[in-house]
Symmetry: C2
Subunit: 537 residues, 2 copies
């Protein structure tokens, strides 16, 4: 028998070396933490996700490199020279007169206490009754009371955010998404608006186009425009962005006619998209990822509404679907993220606490490949400097020390059911109060927005006036009737393109439920008035 | 008698119309607030400094316009289209299904308490004993307990920051600086590092030079470099930037030789400059401002150390200067800011809580003309979104509700004396332990940094090795001896220019006092070793 070829031997030995561990679950966290030993991270201690990831990623591929897409700004950004001195700080016995950090002696804060819900008793009324005061002292770290304290959190930090919260974020990301490449990292942001601003500066230059849904988050367009970056809108259906439409745009891109190189950045909100409320199903996400591979796109996956995925809508008279009965059931009820299918490391996912904990924290995170996260951190070091340490300490106390991963998932289930209830209220109101031959909609599966399509061709003035004029007419009628809804045209990805559809966006996230009903009733009256129909009684 | 000329009449009538009120003092604040009535500002309520300024600015000139300096990015930035809908929110009875803000019902925070020092009992030990718990509830605003609460602070805000804290900041700025033009405004930042990043994007474009001290804050250079913006260093003396040197650079600027238009942005740290510790005296500031007018410069006045101005240094054996005995005496002991002499509105002053309250707040503010602040806010709306609401609430509780302006000035006097003590410790240590024929210095009047000049020409290898090599040699010797000080070359504004001076920067802000002494002793040993001198005993 001939000896196996070198290649075969190598393959064999590779295969035998591959140990594919079970993905991390919340139950696996304590064991992993115990193995790593107590986390010790003082003032402005550097940290990265590698310190907190499992060792079970070795069988995965490495992320692609994105050098060919980096802007001049991003590619030329050097390290902070003063940080070069940091490596000497480990010298035993060294006294540093180096970094210009103030002494915590002069922080006028001695203790911090926040009253937060106990796990399972999440409503405001329950929190008043049975909420718990979680506390941070100034020197808890030295005194052994906690791994994070005021003296550390309230001092300067790192662009990544503090190790203590970054650990929780990394674990959470691994539990929920388990990215299928090896060198993924998380780093904190001061919110996804800033993350998008920084990502665009990393990947685009003046004159570029990026791709997005044809109706998109207005702030994204407004963030890009002053940089000289335009947005080309991709057609959508009720599952959001159409992969085929994107393929066509890219396959037929004419650099000369467009005056711009072929786009290579996709900005997408896959879940509960703003403004359409559309959620990409699993197959749609796969299709989008496949087209992204075909055209070598880099994807900015903006997911503030990911955990606002709701229970299926069963209609007014059918019994509701029972809520998830376990953490595993909850997680598997979520549409998998683009990050979770990102074998190439071509996704920068933006996560946010804004919609599920508090927008005022100005704290979120991105997950991306080592290269992209390293560029992002370097930029953060000379701009945002990472999120507020006050916010980070409050979030750490709540999410890590008090709730832990399990309690946080319970909270997310609570939020899921709350939004389901609110969504059902607005749908019932629409069914009751809107003229169905003029207004149509799909029940949103996620997010904060209900997207109402108006059949403007039935308007008596449809032939004489533009869609925009009629949209304005209905909008003003609605204001007169006492209901504010947003005009669809405010969300055009590209307002140089002519649109022949008309939409309004209504949110069910903010107002009390009876006000939502009343506002929809008024909106119905406004439409009837504009269309010259008899008012409902 | 001939009638007075029109000009004379005008002059007379102008003079009679001018009512120059007394500048605002801390005693004037309660009256002004009472006159304006209770501040009511709910979730994401728009606010600006005009709401909080006195009416006594009408006699001042209007700021110059800076259109000719705005970058394409800044000039082309449009408003947020969705904010167009905000004007309808005032319609009585209107129900909004507009803004995608989450309901505070889903913020898992019920109460916040922070223990802070009582006025006059500022030390850590005193705070432990006699500190006060200041508290915020979730619905204090509705319940009439406070004008700011968790439901508002923890929701989305505005790029300006919240009205409640912006009022305090505007008053503080008026009390301390009383800008001598009419249309000055404050708006919050997430820290001065970010403010500089945003200012550079507002005023510069790729290929530009800005002016700065020849030794400067390394992060400033590193923020500018990836934008393609280089820094031209202006010569310094012990009072920092030399106005004449700046004049010469600008008067002899050769666009062709430099490959860049004449600089029109000056970045300067007037007080306790990093790394040199230099503080511009009053006359120096006037000279710099005059040269800025001559060449129509826009000035970025970065002042994190403004309130770290210390008592005069009297030497080891002379009695100390008695501390300020009143708020007025304290304020008049401060060198006036560039902002306070800015009749043209050509200064963007950056203030920060980092050095005097807490760096982890990631909260500061700028003061500039209406035009510049408006551009800044618009940018903040699509990037940073303003500072953390958690930070803002904590700062508001401390600075407005608890300490108020008077207590804050008392705190700043406390900090002044603490830094004086620390500065005196390092100076005594230097006098005791450094070889005076090789190392020389000026006592710093402000800030965190002591700047030590090394007479490298006395080094035995001075003829054979470069300044940089010798600097490295001393640095490594110091590390071996157990003391970290920063190399002066890390702070070059322009490292393409050859330097023939050698400096090290030592901070007295961070380490305990006995450690500062020991580190300086070790640094002295390291210098003697490098220079081949006998060690001190």
């Amino acid at each position: 028998m001939a000896p196996p070829s070198a290649v075969e031997v190598e393959a064999t030995s590779d295969t035998s070396a591959i140990v594919v561990p079970d993905p991390l679950t919340i139950n696996g966290v304590p064991g992993r933490r115990a193995k790593s030993g107590r986390l010790i991270a003082g003032t402005a201690a550097p940290a990265n996700s590698d310190m907190f990831k499992g060792h079970g990623h070795g069988h995965k591929p490495m992320a692609h490199r994105w050098d060919h897409y980096l802007s001049h700004e991003a590619a030329s950004r050097k390290g902070n020279s003063l940080k070069g001195a940091a490596k000497y700080l480990k010298t035993p016995g060294l006294i540093s007169l180096g970094g210009g950090l103030p002494s915590s002696e002069y922080f006028p804060f001695e203790e911090l206490h926040i009253k937060v819900p106990s796990v399972g008793q999440f409503s405001e009324a329950e929190t008043k009754d049975s909420g718990v005061l979680v506390s941070a002292g100034k020197y808890d770290l030295i005194e052994g009371n906690s791994i994070y304290d005021i003296s550390v959190a309230f001092n300067y930090g790192q662009g990544t955010g503090a190790a203590q919260l970054l650990r929780w974020i990394t674990e959470h990301t691994e539990i929920v998404h388990n990215p299928p490449y090896q060198d993924w990292f998380c780093t904190m942001t001061i919110g996804s608006t800033s993350a998008l601003d920084m990502a665009l500066r990393m990947f685009t230059q003046r004159g570029d186009f990026i791709l997005s849904e044809e109706y998109t988050f207005a702030t994204a367009v407004e963030t890009a425009a002053p940089m000289g970056v335009r947005v080309v809108g991709v057609k959508m259906d009720e599952q959001g962005l159409l992969a085929d439409s994107m393929d066509e745009i890219l396959s037929t891109w004419d650099e000369r006619a467009r005056g711009a190189r072929k786009p290579f950045v996709l900005y997408t909100v896959p879940t509960g998209q703003n403004p359409t409320g559309a959620t990409q199903g699993l197959q749609r996400r796969k299709d989008i990822y496949r087209i992204a591979q075909k055209h070598d796109l880099y994807i900015l996956e903006d997911e503030p509404y990911y955990f606002l995925q709701m229970q299926p809508y069963t209609g007014q008279n059918a019994p509701p679907v029972p809520p998830p009965t376990s953490h595993a059931a909850f997680l598997s009820a979520l549409v998998p993220s683009l990050l979770s299918m990102d074998t190439d490391g071509r996704v920068m996912r933006m996560d946010s606490f804004s919609k599920v904990v508090s927008p005022g924290s100005r704290c979120g995170w991105i997950t991306a490949s080592a290269q992209v996260v390293e560029r992002y951190m370097k930029h953060a070091d000379v701009s945002t400097q990472g999120p507020s340490g006050m916010s980070q300490l409050i979030l750490f106390k709540l999410l890590d020390e008090h709730w832990d991963h399990a309690g946080y998932l319970d909270w997310l289930i609570h939020i899921r059911l709350a939004y389901t209830r609110r969504r059902d209220v607005i749908l019932a109101a629409c069914e009751a109060h809107l003229p169905r031959d003029i207004v149509s909609w799909k029940p949103p599966m996620a997010g904060m927005f209900h997207w109402l399509r108006i059949d403007w061709r039935k308007h008596p003035l449809a032939r004489d006036r533009t869609v925009t004029d009629l949209e304005e007419d209905i909008f003003m009628a609605s204001i007169r009737h006492g209901a504010l809804v947003m005009r669809g045209s405010w969300f055009y990805a590209d307002n140089t393109v002519k649109h022949d559809t008309m939409f309004f966006r209504a949110t069910y996230a903010a107002a009390p439920e009876d006000k939502i009903q009343e506002a929809i009733r008024r909106f119905g009256d406004a439409i009837r008035e504009s269309f010259g129909l008899e008012q409902a009684r």
